[in-house]
């Protein structure tokens, strides 16, 4: 018998039974909800007279449509946003689950809270009605996004019916050059193999470049597994993972911690594990990445150019590229570095953790945002915000000309409230550059926090390495 992958090990341990229909009944260890999709699930469950079966394993946060300006309350700029917030509060209280409410010192984006509080742990299954739940694979948790109806199923039964995905491994050799980050790596991967490249697979990242990443960078990497269409992303836990989790609020303590460590030591792919698909990336060849189009697969390098659709062999890809060029108002061959920007956004579950804010602040220290550029920084959680302020990062951002906000998803997406402007060009540390994602007809370029900060200073797309030391 051949060995098992990390994914196989977690899956097998959670499989209660296989069904006649080929699906598996999988035990779900933790469920996370947020006010955008959680209230619908909780209300619909209550309407059906079904209780939440294990409320102690369920968490809920307010992140998506809450206001992120100082002194905020239930009122949001999104029409009817208040109704979502209040309905969620009511439903969460009725269900007896832990709610990170607006005024809670631990409030923040679900996928930032889960690791930061030790709610997500290696080897656990965790689901949330939110596609970026895969972020938590950075800790070695098997975590994936689901719909509201599936969330109801998980809440009512602590299980889900899932068809087993296949195994994929991306081996990341070499060392990422200084200034090139996990965000650049994942954009490169999606650019190279397409937004559908990981479809149907649980995707493990491995290799020396991954071992060298800190935990927050691994979370960034796995965050975008869904933009690669993967079921989820995974990184095997190691000493860094253990050091990161020790002492966190919901992490096991004392003898339970010791038991957890013993379990986690098994959480790696066996040497003879079989993978259905394998990719290799030489990380030493990478450089800061940026997207030019309206899909994460429309990725290039900051030093690169807008590609020519005529060179795309596949008809579907070619017409999508042409459409994206029109939407983004770009011409083939234009240098990315020549594109003027209207706004810069640092935030989201991809890149708004402390290390991200530090990287951006290192670029901004003693510099100013270019005239006419609206620059905004939104910490991923209230904890990140406090920690950043304790280090004085907030002053670096504000002195450079960035707005410094309360935690939340904010302008990562447009819900009808606050947004980036009509047809504005935005450089953003988020994960989706879809049409109108950040505002009506807004043109989004995805990049790392350091690239966003440097671009804000230049007033055009540019890398931090272009700034003199």
């Amino acid at each position: 018998m051949s060995g098992r992958s990390l994914f196989d090990k977690i899956w097998d341990r959670h499989q209660i039974e296989t069904q006649a229909d080929g699906s598996s009944l999988i035990l779900i260890d933790r469920i996370f909800l947020h006010e955008r999709t959680g209230a619908v699930a909780l209300e619909s469950l209550a309407d059906a007279g079904r209780p939440v079966r294990h409320p102690e394993a369920v968490f809920c946060t307010m992140d998506h449509i809450v206001d992120t300006t100082a002194g905020r309350n239930d009122n949001t700029r999104m029409p009817s946003g208040k109704a979502f917030i209040q309905a969620t509060r009511k439903a969460a209280r009725a269900a007896g689950i832990r709610l990170f409410d607006l005024d809670d010192p631990q409030q923040g984006i679900a996928h930032v809270l889960s690791p930061e509080l030790g709610i997500a742990l290696p080897g656990l299954t965790l689901v949330c009605p939110d596609s970026h739940t895969c972020t938590l694979g950075g800790l070695g948790a098997l975590a994936w996004g689901i719909g509201s109806t599936e969330a109801e199923h998980a809440l009512a039964t602590k299980t889900l019916r899932v068809h087993r995905p296949r195994n994929m491994r991306v081996h990341c050799a070499g060392t990422l050059p200084i200034g090139t980050t996990a965000k650049d790596l994942i954009l490169h991967l999606i650019g190279r193999y397409g937004a559908g490249g990981g479809a149907g697979h649980a995707l493990e990242f491995c290799g020396p470049a991954i071992r060298a990443l800190d935990i927050e960078a691994r979370l960034t990497l796995c965050n975008m597994a869904v933009e690669f269409s993967a079921f989820s992303g995974l990184v095997a836990p190691d000493e860094k993972t253990i050091d990161y989790l020790r002492g966190r609020d919901y992490a096991p303590q004392g003898p339970l911690w010791e038991a957890a460590l013993a379990d986690w030591s098994e959480l790696h792919s066996d040497a003879d594990a079989r993978f259905d698909t394998e990719y290799q990336i030489d990380c030493s060849q990478l450089s800061p990445a940026v997207t030019w189009g309206t899909s994460p697969q429309h990725a290039t390098t900051v030093a690169g150019q807008v590609p020519d659709p005529a060179r795309c062999a596949d008809a579907g890809g070619r017409s999508a590229m042409q459409r994206a060029l029109n939407y983004m108002d770009l011409q083939p061959g234009q240098a990315m570095r020549e594109l003027r920007i209207d706004a810069a956004f640092i935030g989201s579950c991809t890149n708004a953790r402390l290390s991200d804010l530090r990287a951006a602040a290192a670029v901004l220290r003693g510099r100013k945002v270019a005239a006419g550029v609206r620059a905004i920084c939104v910490p991923g959680s209230s904890t990140v915000k406090r920690e950043a302020e304790a280090e004085g990062l907030d002053r670096i951002f504000t002195e450079a000309g960035f707005q410094w906000r309360e935690a939340g998803c904010s302008m990562c997406f447009f819900a009808g409230g606050e947004s980036m402007g009509y047809q504005e060009r935005v450089i953003s540390s988020t994960n989706r550059n879809f049409e109108s994602r950040q505002g009506p007809q807004t043109r989004t370029h995805l990049a790392s926090p350091a690239t966003v900060a440097a671009s804000a200073v230049f007033g055009r797309i540019g890398a931090a390495s272009e700034l003199s030391a």
Binding site: D21, D130, G147, T157, T159, A195, G416
Partner: protein
Amino acid sequence: MRPFTRHRGIAAPLLRINIDTDAIIPSREMKTVSKRGLSAGLFAGWRYLDAGSRTPDPSFVLNQDAHAGASILLGGANFGCGSSREHAVWALAEYGIRCIIAPSFGAIFANNCVRNGLLPLVLDDALVRQLAAQVVKNPQQAQLDIDLEHCQVLAPDGQAHSFSLAEGHRQMLLQGLDPIALTQQSQARIDQHLAQDRQARPWAYL
């Protein structure tokens, strides 16, 4: 849930790749904490020249008389990628879409479809294009006939094309099953597993 056994209907081609759920229903159109009232926001960014006044864009396929009453969408690869919002499926269903035919689907979206009586039907790219070419000549006449019992699509030219679907999804659609009720039949097995697991992984329990 409304079962899906066999459906004959008018099809509308929307052959773009990577149609994401933000495009299917923009977040700003998700206005109430409800699964209903979403169809007006379906494809709002493409369907209306001006989303505020709801002025239809005549170039968008669902606004064209020829495709009036469409209940089948023909889409490009990776249809429904992106956000997990089930609102995309609720909006499609409320609009009257019963089946989407595409070369591939976003996984969460496909799961959401089968839980709401919508069939995510995979055919290869060339075949989807061929069906679209047959349909557009006369959409009201050139209808598609989809038989989930036998996993076949009958094209306007009389040819039958087989497709496959995970058996769990097929049964859920055919019988209109409520998966929660189904799983609760295994409650004793689940409780037993939980009890054993709590011994083996005490650290995993809060």
